[in-house]
Amino acid sequence: MTCTAWIDAALTSARPQAVGALLRYFRNLDIAEEAFQNACLKALKSWPQNGPPRDPAAWLIMVGRNVAIDEVRRTRKQEALPADEAISDLGDAEEALAERLDGSHYRDDILRLLFICCHPDLPATQQIALALRIVSGLSVKQIARAFLVSEAAMEQRITRAKARVAAASVPFETPGAMERSERLAAVAAMIYLIFNEGYSASGDTSELRKPLCEEAIRLARLLLRLFQSEPEIMGLTALLLLQHARAAARFDANGELVLLDDQDRTLWNQKMIAEGLALIDKAIRHRKSGPYQVQAAIAALHSRATRPEDTDWAQIDLLYGTLEIMQPSPVVTLNRAVAVSKVRGAEEALRMIEPLGERLSGYFHYFGVRGALLMQLARNDEARVAFDRAIALANTSAEAAHIRMHLDRLIRDSQPSGKNASEK
């Protein structure tokens, strides 16, 4: 690896910690980000000559802080701005140049940095964009590409999000245990959102959006390293790894979605699967179950099946049952119904999803599953109605194409086979 590549990697991995600490000093996101940028510029000059520092994050924090303080002093001389408000603890920063960074401090720094990105005032898309920009350090251009919007639009979205965060009061005190665990839950949910943003991409855009999945996994690992004994963070990381392990098999050469049953399982990333399974193993020891752990356990059962018919659907049914209690939602019940259809037949599954019709009347997957169950029961006319509705609700061309495949089969099957053969 070349020297600059090493530096890039070191800067990226030090970023959350460094920006988090700088934010604690300056209490202003823009100043913290700029200080970090300036420190990176100095690193690019200094590190190739002097070699890498032992602790790159500490180096960047110290240099970034000094540069920012110089900057404020200069501005103050030129324009006599009320800079003291911008820097709350200038005195402290001046005297503690060689302050040792202690672990628990920057654990909260990073959590705070992630937490301000998931401010409840921000819509999900802004939360994700802000986290990718501030915590991950992706460029606006990279984020715009992943979201399939123009750079200008993304720039505006991030600026707006930053303004909202600045207007809201950001909690700078060290959080108590309760508050810490609330923050952790909010941040975990945001990381899952980032992942889903990449995971739910259609085939033609999945390559572009893949970095979102990878970034989510990186953030989950980062969180897990900070909170090593949190079974739900183990569960979240496992869930993301197990789902992302299937990435290479999820779309065919034409970019069409390939369902789990039809995927070429040799394309699954066994390294990620091994890591996901190991994390579930660790989480289970805590006997403190939670939604991420249960979802990861379901994903693990799929990963363990070498062939689709080896899948332990009975166990998956049970796990969805647990999830229904923890996190009741019609979508969970719908997923459970798929497992039920494999264990106890389509009829029972259909009975299970019947009451969901009203709440899921705008949900593509509801009609996809319903159609498939009706088709298994040879209720073809009803199946066709459900599939038509699914196509109308499809979010991506891949989803629509998949349902159309079912419809084609229905039409083919409903023709007398003899006639079919003679036509060909």
Partner: protein
Amino acid sequence: MLYAILCYHDEDLVGSWTREQDADVMSRLAVVQDRLKKDGRLGPVARLLPTTAATTLRKDDPPVVLDGPYAETKEQLLGFYVVDCENLDAALGIARELGAANPGGAYEVRPVGLFQAGGDLK
């Protein structure tokens, strides 16, 4: 004399390698390994999962299980075992048993991602 060669690197960095980059490194290593194996100089080779997958057993009385890798710097790496277990609990069971025979210090239990038994040593 047998030597253990312990591999250190930034796991974030290595973890962010693409499949192709990873395969590239592994194939370059395989060239060296194959030669060593032919010469009867290569024992087992293991690639460990990231430290986030690690669990540590402090061999205190009673032993304490902690999530995460062994992070202290006051003790030194003195040896290692590779054991085949159904799950983490079973591996920790073995670690406890070993710990009872030799108290003090700690065992870091880390899943092995890739294992090659290696050849017969001369």
